[in-house]
Chain length 347, copies 2
């Protein structure tokens, strides 16, 4: 076995009793008050003393009783985040940025990633508030009234991530109309007049609805037509993009360009076009949204609107830290940017 | 603005004072004892009463003081997970499965996703234990001694995810030798004798090291040669796979097949081969590990070993629940499976 030479994990300190503050003080050669300050207000003591205390705490495996401290301080230094089904989407990059931003100020993230129907239940937020979160990050502005009531009644600061500008002072997101306009303007300049759209279910998802609204708004502005036979709403995913593109190919719809709600759908569609012998972009141009990390490595590389996904997480973290610190926070304007690659060409 | 017609979130319950247990009891028309039981031991009262209490609690935005309850019960129903840089890897699917499994029993996940050097610090685990986690999920078996000492001293159950079989009773993972053997046996049967390998930095990552060891072990077993000029260690990512493949192409190494440590690297390499005019699999076969969701939609679709990523998260969750409940837990044998697609062919 590759790890046979490693010592057993059980041996490390298995027989130790729980260490006390006094044990740490004795080992570090300082008073219990100094240990307490080193752990909770490190700025008040010298770095050398703090290092000695932390090394003693590490050796003894000592940790503060967080529940007792939380009761006394009325702060847990924990932020809750509720992000449905994050495992199969662009959300991990956003959550990672949120987590990193909060960690800089010593906050830890309590994550709930409900799947399916569980996503709708206020019980998730209740469980988070019971565990003692100082603030909460939510996805979008489609929140059940019970969730908002609970946050208000508990005076818990919150942020809504991936929300359209103008949703309020607690909402961080970007302008879907600008994103739609960028991709549509690009296709218009290439001479495309008749296009198709495959996106998420706008009935179920606020983000899918806003995406479609942005594209539809831009199409009207550029006097372009959406062919209804080349319009499909589905789940976001590679397989779904593949299937939707096959359906539209079979319908022989006379569109010259296809816009997809996400790179996941577009990547699946490019595979369907590749396997169906349809040349991209000569016979059909393909464009989408996100600029996921795989977009540059598709066949052909994908033209897509880069969305500020990490930036949303970072701004959400900074907003919550400002709220918790009682400082003012100016909502940043998060930019979208068209990345032109080889999947789009003249009509 | 798309959401201009929605009511302001601030109006929901903004002027409410914090609700008490007595308020919930009064609204639901039950005793405070019944409210308490409905919230903490729902099995003890009728479903109708529980529903009435929960509706009242929702309307008033009432939540239990988790810190006080944690002090009294010595349980927080919270599990900590430390998973470095999860935003750019296969870890989200694993974490999602872990979270879902724990949620079934009412546990919430406290997630720390440290980036870079922060990943090495026992401070992360200390912060989690201070916040009161009942158990901890760690990535791999490469844990600093201070982390193991802290867990032992606090008698905190833990699981090591993505660990090789034989790492101990608290480790959940799969057999990298079996995974390596599957891909190598497939290439051997196709007549390949001389191959290249591009993987992660085995010095920095236990997972990258085990992956390489599995492949190297299988190559020896099938009497195949690894060409050193077609061997590169890099970061996992599309761009890195693209660059590594370009480097190897420039070296004109006489290999007939390339194995990649992950689908991310392989997808980038396929793009480099595509743009370099190298026909896959006619001129070069490509295979890798993971079966990420995009693998079937590449050009050509990728032959890869499906790894039990979700299954690791689920098994880790069940292991922790068993430990917390004092029940026995038998480590599952998680299977790997070669998925043959169009990127591999005869030498």
């Amino acid at each position: 076995m590759p790890t046979a030479s490693r010592p057993s994990l059980r041996t490390a300190a298995a027989s130790a009793r729980s260490a006390s503050l006094a044990d740490v003080a004795a080992l570090a050669g300082v008073s219990t008050g100094t240990v307490s300050r080193a752990l909770s207000r490190p700025g008040m003591i010298s770095e050398a003393t703090r290092t000695r205390v932390m090394e003693a705490a590490d050796r003894l495996g000592y940790v503060v009783n967080g529940a007792a401290r939380a009761l006394a301080m009325r702060r847990t230094k924990t932020i809750g985040a509720v992000v449905p089904r994050f495992g199969s989407s662009s959300f991990p990059a956003m959550i990672q940025a949120l987590e990193s931003t909060l960690a800089e100020e010593g906050y830890t993230l309590l994550l709930s990633a409900p799947e399916g129907r569980r996503a709708q239940q206020p019980d998730i937020l209740r469980a988070m508030l019971e565990r003692g979160v100082d603030a909460v990050a939510l996805l979008g502005t489609d929140q059940p009234p019970a969730v908002l009531a609970m946050l208000a009644a508990n005076r818990t600061p919150f942020v809504q991530m991936w929300a359209p500008p103008g949703s309020g002072s607690d909402a961080v997101g970007f302008d879907e109309h600008a994103a739609g306009a960028q991709v549509v303007a690009h296709l218009a300049a290439l001479g495309h007049r008749r296009i198709g759209f495959v996106g998420g279910h706008s009935r179920d998802s606020e983000r899918a609805r806003l995406r479609f609204e942005g594209v539809a708004w831009a199409l009207a502005r550029y006097d372009m037509a959406l062919d209804e036979r080349a319009f499909i709403e589905t789940e976001y995913g590679f397989a779904e993009g593949f299937a939707a593109m096959q359906t539209i190919l079979a319908r022989r719809v006379p569109v010259t360009a296809m816009v997809f709600g996400t790179d996941y759908l577009a990547a699946g569609a490019l595979a369907a076009l590749d396997q169906g012998g349809v040349a991209v972009p000569r016979a059909l141009s393909v464009a989408s949204f996100n600029d996921n990390d795989f977009a540059a490595y598709l066949h052909p590389p994908l033209t897509t609107v880069r969305l500020p996904i990490r930036e949303i997480g970072e701004a959400a973290g900074r907003l919550l830290l400002a709220r918790l610190g009682g400082q003012p926070f100016e909502l940043p304007v998060l930019k979208v940017e068209l990345i032109v690659r080889a999947s789009t060409g003249p009509a």
